[in-house]
Amino acid sequence: MKVPVKWLNEHVKIDDIPIKTLEEGLIMSGSNTEGIRDFSRDNTEIVVGRVLAQEKHPDADKLFVLKVDIGDERVQIVTGAKNVKVGDFVPVARVGARLAKGLVIKKSKLRGEVSEGMLVSLDELGFTRSVIPKVFDDGIYILQGSYEPGTPFFEAVAIGDQVIEFEITPNRADCLCIEGMARETQATFGRQRRAVKVPQGFSGDEVGKFIDVSVLDRDLCPRYAGFVIRNANIEPSPQWMQVRLMLAGVRPINNIVDVTNYVMLEIGNPIHPFDLDQVDEGRIIVRRAEADEVITTLDSVKRSLTTEDLVIASPRRAIGLAGIMGGENTEITSETRNIFVEVASFNKTALRLSSKSLGLRTEASARFEKGIDPSRVAKAIQRLLELYQEMNVGELVKGVVDVYPEPQIQRRVTLTRREVKRILGIDPTVPEMIKMLEGLEFQLVEGDDLSLTVAVPPCRLDVVKEIDLVEEIARIYGYDRIPSTIPGGTLYGEFSPKQRIENRVKRLLVAKGLVEIATYSFVSPSTVKKIKREKDPAISRMVKLINPLGEEYSVMRTTLVPNLLEVLVRNHNYGAPKMMAFEMGNTFMPKSLPVKDLPDEKISLVMGGFGEGVGFFTLKGLVTLLLEDLGIHGVRFVKAPKIDTYHPGRSATILWGETSLGYMGEFHPEVLENFEANTRITGVELDFEALMAASNLTRIYNPVSRFPAIERDIALLVAETVTNEEIIDIIEKNGGNDLVQVKLFDIYRGDQIQAGFKSVAYNMVFRAKEDTLTYEAVQKPYDKILEALEKELGALRR
């Protein structure tokens, strides 16, 4: 909402308030701004000039040489403008002037002719092209009336103004007009608003001779009013009005239309003029469109309607889309003589849906869809009549048509001091609150020491309940004057057990060198396919979005693996030599397909990496550490059932008892190829909920033996097929109570070892709790271990 300050000043005196103070005050009472645009620009170098002579440039077909009186001197100016004539008053930028776009005017020669200044267009004065009147679109702005040459241009015309652009919140449609902002200013600065004059001698009922209105769908049109102008002269509107409209962001068109726009900006009610001679029988019918009814709107677009759209019609055809845009067939043209000016109120929801389905949003529809009270129709009509009368546009027919079967009822709302104190923590007295509310034009109905009842101004459709008045008090009292306190109470803050485990896991992984990544919760189905798990319903059954941004964000992820792979591959391509990463995040499992209920959201943890020293056993070690840290003991890594995601010989299922905690392994070469990875990548996927269920963070002290340990090594020759786990199981089973640790420390395959065999070496630590062990004391278990290994695995001692 662009508010020219001088226009606002006509409604409430503010010209004694510095503009920054005005802006800041209104921001703090609830009307935020997007800045101030200054068109006055303290520039005396642009002056009004009078064209004294005009000749064709001797050496250039498209240029003219002008003699211009600029007050203190007469200058020669070369111009390309075709719309200028001798006698015109035009804005002249003198030598030295700086224009809106930074151009500085210099004395120059154009094809041999001296030019001492420049005629300027509205564009060069800082207006956007969309608000410049069509006649001046490509040319110089020509002033109406006559002026003393040399008068500073911004003084001569009302352009010299500042415009505050307000950002009006959606609940405050009442502020989308000068009057509304004047009301806010009045309340904020304690000023008195000036009332709109009511024109005299306009009552009567002659209007009925020329126009007849029937509203068929009253639910969509609570009020339909208007009046008639006869024998109108269609011409440009006065310069002051054109300038105001341009400052407020509206393009001037002609006197009839400009006044409708002017009053819309001032009072807030959109208005539409029809060429009455094109309204057959002078009859207007407000009705729903018929299915597939067609109308060509003012923008020359032919539109096909439905019964959800409301039209203004004459008996034979639709002549306008109610509250959105008029029809081309009744447009005001230079030929128009008789006019019906419509001032109406339409249902905001129906209008919004209609505007949306037609894909047509206008200044009028944008206002109606936010909600405009039908009461202000009368005020808008008064203002229209006043302006039309003043501008002498034609014969104003006495009387107004006004179909308003159920006049708006003025609401009453009660506010108590207790509630203000309870919600805001401040305690103004009732008289203080009355003063604040009266500034906003609430009328006091009754009040005592503890409460007050007010009648709500009709334009304040947002004020319905006591809390709405509490808000009014808060913003007029001033948020900055409300004290700052801290709530008391006995509540304490803490992480939940689940959150503590999450934090613990993240900290551990970061300490071990992993980088945390964050990827989108929605993924591309084709990327999920790349991990080759179509057969796993937990992965392939996905929750789909109705309206994704594109295929790549179209389903909710069931696994974090594809995202992890994408991130790792991307980093590898960027040249990272080595990387380990993890992500902890939700996966989404539909309860049924098609989706009816909320999906199950399960936290998953993935880890993975590539580069030197990052392989299966790196990740296995990491998983082991992580699980031990969570108090999950006795986990086994078992050869995985066939999962195509991983290398069949380099993958495992992670089992805790019978519970699967997840999978890990080097990714299958085909999967890596799908992601265009040029490196081996190893990864782990863990079911974090299973991890949490298995975790045990209770720690009980286990006495530390003070007796020395005995270490024994054993080197064996075994077949390649014998696994580490088999050997360790046998050693542990036969090692007796004092065996506390077994560790593989060497594997050797080579020249001295026959094919199909490997040499493995284990270190065993024996320690008794109550005694110092001797070398001899562990010989017995040692021999037993060796014997069992020989017998059960065919191992040979080396």
Binding site: P483, P487, A511, G513, E516, Y520, N547
Partner: protein
């Protein structure tokens, strides 16, 4: 020379000789020479037998004194030698300390979570718990219960991602507040951080997925003054003690009165810089008193209880704090980016 003179001569010799002893080995040789079983002192004292009975105790005493004297010379010299040897060792072991240190690798939390952890810490310290809820939620929890008008544009397919007519990707973490209020009686004091989704094409300042942190306090006697005090304290903790806050009236359907909160620019201290668009203030929070409709919808007596709620964008705060100029960096997960935090 008699024995006494000889003893004196030996001590004198020792006192001279000790000065040239430079190492532990030479010191051993010195000891053997003077005090050894065949050393010169012992050899001299073998002549005791020839002395008279009167002289013996005298010479014996002198001999002991000479021995003690030489031993003390040895002990002093040993300390001197040790000191010097230690010095030699230290200087010979000196390192070129400008050579590089060993490289230890640590991992890194994602910058969004680093800032989130900081914020969680602040609120836990102020007595808040952390509430969580699903990313896919119901239209009811995300909009209806929050007093959002049925025909509000934010509900449209061009603003919100839908799964079905009734299910959507939450556009804010407020549905967690709804769930919290429905499941718990006041007093309630929680923050709810999490992922949110809006129909925005990805560019430098927009992402279809982003993060919010919302807070909710419901109890008897909770006022807008409490809201101001709470957020002011929070801003000071997060951005520094000198931080000022400015509460501007605003509109949200689920709170009334509502406010937007600016904090004094923590980059320039309020003087104006490119981070605050030269205004000295940065808008960081939306907040307000929970609308009575919302309380009632969630089963809380709005005449007995009142509450406040606030929300902020984690991505935006993280970007401002670390001077990150492109939101896409958060989701590209380039290790060169994440490693910087």
């Amino acid at each position: 020379m008699d024995m006494e003179d000889k003893l004196k001569a030996i001590v004198t010799e020792a006192e001279t000789a000790i000065e040239s002893v430079e190492s532990s080995r030479e010191l051993d040789d010195f000891r053997v020479h003077f005090l050894g079983k065949k050393g010169i002192l012992k050899e001299l004292m073998k002549g005791m037998g020839r002395l008279s009975v009167e002289e013996r105790p005298l010479i014996g005493k002198l001999g002991n004194e000479a021995t003690q004297r030489i031993e003390s010379l040895i002990s002093q010299r040993r300390d001197w030698i040790r000191g010097r040897e230690l010095e030699d060792r230290l200087s010979s072991e000196a390192l070129d300390i400008t050579m590089p240190g060993e490289i230890f690798e640590k991992g890194h939390l994602h910058p969004l979570n680093l800032v989130l952890d900081e914020i969680k810490g602040i609120f836990i310290g102020m007595g808040y718990k952390i509430a969580e809820g699903p990313e896919v939620d119901t239209v009811y929890n995300n909009f209806d219960a929050l007093n959002s008008p049925k025909d509000h544009p934010s509900r449209s397919l061009s603003d919100t991602f839908y799964i079905t007519e009734d299910l959507l990707l939450r556009t804010q973490t407020s549905p967690v507040q709804v769930r919290t209020m429905m499941a718990n009686d006041p007093p309630i004091k929680v923050i709810s951080p999490g992922r949110c989704f809006r129909y925005d094409e990805l560019d430098a300042t927009h992402s279809p997925m982003f993060h919010q942190i919302e807070g909710l306090v419901v109890d008897e006697h909770i006022t807008m003054a409490d809201l101001k005090g709470t957020l002011d304290l929070f801003a000071k903790r997060l951005f520094g003690e000198a931080t000022q806050t400015k509460f501007r009236p605003h509109y949200f359907p689920f709170t009334e009165p509502s406010a937007e909160v600016d904090v004094s620019c923590f980059k320039c201290g309020g003087e104006g810089c490119r981070f605050c668009s030269y205004s000295g203030w940065i808008e960081i929070l939306g907040c307000g008193m929970v609308h009575p409709h919302v309380l009632e919808e969630c089963g809380i007596d709005s005449e007995k209880y009142s509450g406040f709620a606030f929300g902020m964008g984690l991505d935006r705060i993280t970007m401002l704090k670390h001077e990150i100029d492109d939101i896409r960096l958060f989701f590209e997960n380039d290790i060169r980016f994440i490693k910087q935090f």
